[in-house]
């Protein structure tokens, strides 16, 4: 059952409210712009689709459109970030942190500049545009940076909180957003703490831990609900912060279940599942199944069709959970 302590939306299984995580980002920037004169926003010719157009209208002196030039955007932001500003750079994740990766590494991360990288249109959810625009490696290439914060909000409300929260630290952040409207799972009352993983689905006697990141959390919750009906009890963890990773909550869950399945719209190589696996192999080696892209790019298509074809659907999660359980008990 949904964790009552987290004030989650009870309607998510029947009539979920839909909103894109990028909208949460845009709203948070607007609020931050009003509150903090040091907030600056940059884009590389993607103001509307990364939802920074309202910020641009309201704070034109603190908004910079760099044109189609992601390296320049990154390093300009780095200059702003070492000069007392808090710079949010907004582009598609394929281009930033993809195309401008080394620029970010040197001028933002190594330089320790106060820059927040907003990677939009991440994952195969970017659908019809095809693999050129579906960032499925961005978690891998940012979480390997020393002391980087890597956040993947589960819904628009968490996206708002994650964006707002990132302004309170001088550390560089990577925050990942998706294009489509997705179910709003949390509410304004749901606690948000990047150092604390929340258990969204609880059971009396969980047999498998399901860890999901980003909008995939919704698919994980549907799977957990269906599995419950079949008599399989699980716990579902919302991994919205991949770095820092709250090790204790994961260890606490897998110490009960001894089986873990990780769900992400990303390559399984180097993603959230890998991050948890690296930790567990040091502290408590655990049987693990990885759901995500398996050594392949996806293709153009309707989001729902892609999610089914590439094995990310609730049905697929259910099947893989059952298989995992068999392995555990076998």
């Amino acid at each position: 059952m949904l964790n009552k302590d987290l004030y989650l939306n009870e309607n998510i299984f029947e009539t979920p409210t839909l909103e894109a995580t990028r909208d949460g980002y845009g709203k948070a920037l607007l609020k931050l712009g009003e509150e903090n004169p040091n907030i600056v926003v940059l884009t590389a010719d993607l103001a509307e689709s990364t939802r920074v157009d309202e910020f641009a209208k309201n704070f034109p002196d603190r908004f910079f459109d760099c044109g189609v030039a992601e390296q320049n955007m990154a390093a300009i932001a780095a200059g702003l970030g070492v000069s007392g500003k808090i710079a949010y750079i907004s582009s598609y994740a394929v281009f930033s942190p993809g195309k401008n990766w080394e620029t970010l590494r040197t001028t933002v991360v190594y330089n320790h500049s106060n820059v927040k990288i907003a990677g939009h249109h991440a994952g195969i959810m970017t659908g019809p545009d095809g693999p050129t625009h579906q960032a499925t490696e961005d978690i891998a290439i940012t979480r390997c940076w020393p002391k980087m914060k890597v956040i993947v909000p589960a819904d628009s409300i968490e996206a708002y909180k994650a964006t707002y929260n990132s302004s309170e630290s001088e550390d560089p952040y990577y925050i990942r957003f998706t294009r489509d409207k997705t179910p709003v799972i949390t509410t304004s009352k749901t606690p948000y703490d990047e150092n604390k993983i929340q258990v969204f689905w609880v059971s009396n006697n969980p047999q498998v831990t399901i860890a999901a990141t980003g909008y995939m959390l919704y698919y994980a919750l549907i799977a957990a609900s269906n599995l419950q009906k079949e008599g399989v009890e699980t716990e579902v963890l919302n991994i919205s912060s991949i770095k820092p990773l709250d090790q204790d909550t994961i260890l606490k869950s897998v110490s009960k279940t001894n089986a873990l399945i990780t769900i992400e719209d990303h390559q399984v190589d180097g993603g959230m599942g890998s991050a948890i696996s690296e930790m567990l192999s040091r502290r408590r080696p655990t049987l693990q199944e990885f759901v995500g892209l398996q050594n392949t790019f996806a293709e153009s298509g309707d989001t729902k069709a892609l999610i089914e074809k590439y094995g990310l659907s609730s049905k697929s999660i259910q099947e893989k959970t059952i298989n995992l359980l068999k392995r555990k008990n076998g």
Binding site: R62, G79, S83, T103, T107
Partner: protein
């Protein structure tokens, strides 16, 4: 405006530049790796910046309204370190730690390691963009400091530079001055053989920049160019400083093979002899 300098000051600054060249040779010899030609070629300009142009305080390197000097081509950092040490940012003896473990003097500059270093650099083509960001922050804050960026000629082969040149032209950033070390060499050879940059003056003009060309070894002319840049309000200014790579050490001058190599013991002895005698014009006390 920056004060003009008289002949006495010119003489003093030239002596400082010569001393900086000696320090560069000494530190590269100890380090056993690093770049020789670029640092030697830029000793006069770094002297002009740190001993006359920049509004900075070596004892308070984070001073809020300090002028910012951004080094884009981080590989010539020995000249920055040597100049900063001579100016009093840290003890000259620390120069011997260049490129060694536990040193603040990283092989390429690291902002958070050494106070007074404004950005981390090494990978080319990124300094102008960072200078733009700092200049934009100054505009937002209505701060009066000036942002100077030093870039190499070879790094103009990086696309990022032209993204930044386009942006600065669009924004009419008059608090930003770019100095290009036009020494015509890069690792693989002469710039015009590897990938021609000319006509570089026309290129900058077409991007809506004000362009000044200057002899990069004439400190007085360079200071005048900085003043001219300050008087231009409607656009950013680029000063193309023509320099001789390896300047001051005869066997290194104009030879691209010295771009990325340090001197060995014998070569360092030879170089220091030349520098300490001002090219055999004076008899060194060491002789």
């Amino acid at each position: 405006m920056i004060e003009r300098i008289d002949s006495d000051q010119i003489r003093i600054l030239n002596e400082k530049a010569n001393k900086i060249r000696e320090l560069i040779i000494e530190m590269l010899l100890t380090a056993g790796s690093g770049h020789s030609a670029g640092p030697l070629g830029m000793a006069d300009i770094f002297t002009a910046f740190y001993f006359h142009i920049l509004n900075q305080d070596p004892k308070n390197p984070d001073m809020k309204d300090r002028d910012r000097l951004i080094l884009s081509n981080g590989h010539i950092c020995p000249v920055r370190y040597a100049t900063m040490a001579l100016r009093g940012y840290f003890d000259i003896s620390e120069l011997q730690t260049l490129r060694k473990i536990n040193s603040r003097l990283q092989g390429h500059p690291h902002r958070t390691s050494l106070p007074g270093v404004e950005t981390s650099s090494g990978p080319l083509g990124e300094g102008l963009s960072q200078g733009i960001g700092i200049a934009l922050a100054a505009k937002i804050d209505k701060a009066k400091y000036q942002v100077y960026v030093i870039a190499s000629d070879g790094e103009h082969q990086e696309g990022n530079i032209w993204e930044a040149v386009m942006f600065a032209g669009k924004m009419k950033l008059n608090n930003l001055t770019l100095v290009i070390d036009r020494n015509n060499i890069q690792i693989d050879g002469f710039t015009e053989d590897v990938m021609p940059l000319e006509p570089i003056v026309d290129k900058y003009k077409s991007f809506n920049w004000h362009v000044i060309e200057v002899d990069g070894h004439n400190i007085e002319a360079f200071i005048n160019a900085i003043n001219e840049a300050k008087s231009i309000f409607e656009k950013p200014t680029v000063i193309i400083a023509h320099t001789i790579p390896g300047k001051g050490v005869d066997f290194m001058e104009k030879d691209y093979l010295w771009h990325g190599s340090p001197p060995n013991k014998e070569q360092a002895r030879e170089a220091l002899k030349e520098l300490r005698t001002l090219g055999n014009k004076i008899i060194s006390e060491h002789q």
